[in-house]
Amino acid sequence: MARRAIVSLAAAALALAQTLGDNTAASQADVTRDGPPELLVSRQLLEAQHLSVGEVVSISADPKGDQPQPFRIAGVYEPLPDPMRLGALRHEVRLHLPDLVSLTSSADSVDAINVALPDPATAAAFAREVAPRLPGMMVRSTSAPDEAQRAATFIVLDRFHLAIAIVTVIGSSVFLLALTLMLVDERRETVGILRLIGFRRRRILLYMLAEGVVLAGTGAITGVVLAALLQGGVNRFFQWRYDTALLFVRVTPGVVARSIAMSVPLGVLASIASSWTLLRHEAISLSRR
């Protein structure tokens, strides 16, 4: 079974190959020979400390700042938007692994070795197989618990948002019922006259049903368009507020379909319910002032 090992450190060397790319890797040898080693800074750190690309900064692994080493800022990167770190200050730097080892004097040791398997489902079995061969090391499957844990937060938030949405839909339905009751009430006399002429209840109900479908459908589509127009503003506000590239609102085809599937039947039901409160009366009582 082929295995591919990716060495990663905490945040500092994360995605080194992805970030620096082949070109940077190719020029790495030149840089380390001539001048201080390079690092990348996060956009947030660059702005907060008023740094600029090309500037030489001192980095220390000690909170008191002991034994700093100079590094040249080779570039800026946008930290991967991480919902789990919303609100956190993304003041980060990325170093080449040898530089980090040198900085932290960790003597060619790392905190962890991440192993990516062709089939992640075999992670637990792989851990059990490898553990006895690496005495004194902890070998653990990271996909199940951690990923599930990461997803669990969003599953919980998803449920929370759904609960809020349910309450909002209930409130909106009541509002809708109030509106349709008023609309129907305004037609009281007209309906009474139609009934006196000879229109059957079902005929009038069908008419109101058709009207309800048109109103509910138009309302639903208007709501979706409004949401689509607003999502840009909402995202921009929260991206500014949290200084992140995360998207907070996404109006997807699925969301549109669900919204329409919920709102149109609710609108039609409200229309029918309010119409029935009128049609159950006798015609003569409807047409009296």
């Binding site: 609100g87 004194g136 449920r159 809020i164 209930i170 109030a178």
Partner: protein
């Protein structure tokens, strides 16, 4: 009967002539009012609950290595000496280092091992001993989930491998007697946690490991947390003390901010919704009764009188709905709280929705403002109603 009472009675009768409409209006306000109430509870719920949790442990100051959140920064070296230095300050009653490391019970049950020093009573600092309390210093107090996972009880011995230093291989397992099964207030619903004494952990680490994640400090009675913090800063400027209040403020800036934001957004939406509902209800009601309003104006009702009628109708609708909203909101908050508490990493003793009288007062105030605002347009309609023209139009 005073003018206000007359107006109120008249407004009630006006609403009752359309009971369906009034009922729906009240229900609508109740639904959005419940959500508004919950959002007001949520806006400070985490802050209040977290503060209570911090205070309940019995320490009002925490010493960190930087101005970050607890357990988030580098460790404090020579923690035992720091604790002795701080305990000598007149403003400090007690100072205890605390450290949490990864451990593994053989065969392969990982858990968080908390080392905490000092002579403390069972029940403080997360070491509540349900099995009669912890007396000795050699064993572990484990939580129920860990006891269930390992199928052990007090008196049993487990073999534990600890990772004393990051970057170094964990040491071979050593035996730890289980001294008791307790509750740790900062545990979430899935956490496996155990605690032992500082000395026992150092022994398990071969005499090393005098680094603490933080120090817990209790201020001396009569001095207070702020005085303790000032004294610590004077004595040890290299340390970063923070009162519980400051810790909570940092959490508010970071982790809690999402809930504050959503609380603000949903509160605004619910108020807008309530405002629209009542405005529409009252405006349609007024438009349907223009001739009647013109007639009572012709009979001698003043502008203020008919405006008061509309205002009272708004107050009755919003007031009745608002009253219903409180018990509804309580019930809803229990449901929402249960949903959110399932989030990993959230201590089980934390609540997202916490009742405070100020939330109720703010709820009432916001509803009053909504009732007033919603009545403005229909009031304008009735106050500006041209009596003669309306009567003429009615005949035509």
């Amino acid at each position: 009967m005073s003018t206000a009472t007359r107006s109120l009675a008249f407004a009630a009768r006006s609403l009752l002539r359309q009971p369906g409409r009034a009922g729906v209006g009240i229900l609508g306000i109740a639904a959005v009012g419940a959500l508004l109430f919950d959002m007001l509870l949520l806006s400070r719920g985490l802050v209040v609950s977290f503060r209570e949790l911090l205070d309940s442990v019995g320490f009002d100051v925490r010493i960190l290595s930087s101005d970050s959140l607890p357990m988030g920064g580098a460790r404090l070296a020579n923690a035992s000496q720091i604790a002795r230095d701080l305990a000598a300050l007149p403003e400090v009653a007690e100072a205890i280092p605390i450290r949490v490391i990864d451990a593994e019970a053989v065969p392969a049950v990982g858990f968080a091992l908390m080392a905490i020093d000092g002579d403390f009573r069972a029940g403080r600092a997360g070491r509540a001993g349900r099995d009669g309390g912890y007396e000795g210093s050699e064993g572990l107090v484990i939580n129920q989930r860990l006891a269930d996972a390992l199928k052990v009880k007090a008196g049993d011995t487990i073999r534990v491998r600890v990772s004393c230093v990051s970057g170094r291989a964990p040491l071979p397992p050593s035996p730890f007697p289980v001294a008791g099964v307790g509750e740790f207030p900062f545990d979430d619903g899935a956490q496996l946690t155990a605690s032992t004494s500082w000395a026992r952990l150092r022994s398990a680490c071969g005499g090393e490991g005098d680094d603490a994640d933080m120090l817990l400090v209790a201020s001396r009675e009569g001095h207070g947390a702020d005085a303790a913090v000032r004294a610590i800063r004077r004595a040890r400027p290299d340390l970063h003390p923070a009162t519980n209040e400051e810790i909570v403020a940092r959490m508010q800036q970071g982790s809690f901010s999402y809930f504050r934001q959503i609380s603000a957004v949903l509160s605004t939406i619910t108020l807008l919704f309530g405002f629209l509902l009542i405005t529409v209800l009252l405006t349609v009601s007024v438009n349907q009764r223009l001739a009647e309003i013109a007639a009572v104006r012709a009979l001698g009702f003043s502008r203020g009188r008919v405006a008061a009628d509309v205002l009272w109708q708004s107050a009755l609708l919003v007031g009745s709905g608002g009253l219903l909203a409180v018990p509804l909101g309580f019930a809803l908050s229990l449901w929402l709280d249960r949903i959110l508490k399932a989030m990993p990493g959230v201590p089980t003793s934390i609540h997202f929705f916490v009742f405070e009288p100020r939330a109720l007062a703010l709820h009432a105030t916001l509803l009053v403002v909504t009732a007033l605002a919603a009545a403005m347009y229909p009031i304008r309609l009735v106050a500006a109603l041209p009596i003669a023209e309306t009567l003429r139009n009615e005949v035509v």
